[in-house]
Subunit: 233 residues, 2 copies
């Protein structure tokens, strides 16, 4: 049986891929990338295309459908379908690299594929190649960092984010998908007096990347991150 690699290609800028990830993509016969619409594009796939160029022609390059829905049945069917395509290649003895933006361990699509592949073929060898996460790139662009004894919390705003405890006990809080519920998050931070300590980073690691003092932002795009640091801003 071949190996399934979860490969982080970095936050979007193709130059932020690692040497290891690039070597693996050059070596494997099959590369898979996720896309959220059946005929849509894949951001991770675009990074691969821009890096490998014509070298892709000697490989199989599969775009796998990972729909954006909360319907668990639709999701599980899509994961199973994606996994069956991957397992077919693995069973032919072909190593498969599944690419994700950022880092495969950090809010990526890779775990869903991994679980679905292991359900179909439990003997599969899985290896993860870490990448530069969106957390690291947003902190770099936002001009913020954590050091010494500082505690860091990462909180997707698609879940509950409004705990006073976390605001008081963590030095740095990073709210993921901050654009989606920006109005509610903004109100929460403002009510606790933390809005001035917040930066909003949008489209990080793309040519349109920007950082704003969060207090100045009325509307934010979906993939924004909001970083609050008690003493850095």
């Amino acid at each position: 049986m071949a190996t399934l690699y979860g490969v982080g290609v970095g936050p979007g800028d193709p130059e932020l891929i690692t040497l290891k990830a690039l070597r693996l993509l050059e070596e494997v016969p099959v590369i898979c990338a996720p896309r959220s619409r059946e005929e849509g594009e894949s951001l991770a796939g675009e990074v691969v295309t821009s890096l490998l160029g014509e070298k892709l022609q000697s490989k199989e390059f599969l775009l796998l459908h990972f729909p954006m829905t909360r319907d668990r049945k639709v999701l599980e069917e899509a994961w199973r379908e994606a996994a069956s395509q991957v397992v077919a290649r693995l069973r032919q003895g072909k190593d498969v690299a599944f690419v994700t933006l950022g880092d495969p361990s950090f809010y990526s699509t890779f775990p869903y594929l991994r679980q679905a592949v292991l359900a179909l073929a439990p003997e599969t060898r899985v290896a993860v190649v870490p990448g530069v996460s969106s957390l690291s790139s947003c902190m770099a662009l936002g001009g913020v960092w954590v050091q010494e004894n500082e505690r860091l919390a990462v909180i997707p705003v698609t879940g509950d984010f409004s705990s006073d405890t976390w605001l008081n006990e963590f030095d740095c809080l990073v709210f993921l998908k901050g654009g989606r519920h920006w109005k509610k998050l903004r109100e929460f931070l403002a009510a606790r007096g933390y809005l001035a300590q917040a930066r909003l980073v949008e489209r990080c690691s793309t040519p349109e990347e920007k950082v704003y003092p969060a207090a100045e932002v009325e509307k934010a795009p979906y993939l924004s991150q909001v970083i609050v640091h008690r003493s850095r801003f």
Copy 2:
């Protein structure tokens, strides 16, 4: 005035550096790396040496002293001394790359140098090149990830780490420098019934890297990370 780059070289394996970091190291005339003892080695410096080899001979390669002490006066004097060496090169119009293991925003030495350089030369342009953090590489090796609405907390055990709130409200907790106070951390996790959900990752991204169920570990090396995940282990 030239630019000071904070360059993350990844968690230790030279192949986990990004293309961007490698390009910058090849371009700049001055590379600096931190070491904790005056005549000691620099782990980040070793990554640079193994990647650049003979190309280093055309550059200035400075090892800067960042002592391991809690004596604030000794530390500040060391930061000032390191900064004055860097500022001298910047004032000659030479770009300087300061390399750190992992990611410059994530518990690295770069912020101390940045602050000290800006104190001496406030006009300095600073840019951060994110790297693969030890967090990403330990999660990859530990076989753990965060997804969807899961909340992640990163907690250096050199500070207070014993909050029941965090254990109950975060899905994944990563304890940094877990080796240093492993006995206390182990007792804390065991008392709350979380020891079975914990993995200890040691010497991640080196040839000696290992993962253990934390319950099996009596003594742990300094740079260990302990990862607790409510539902993944």
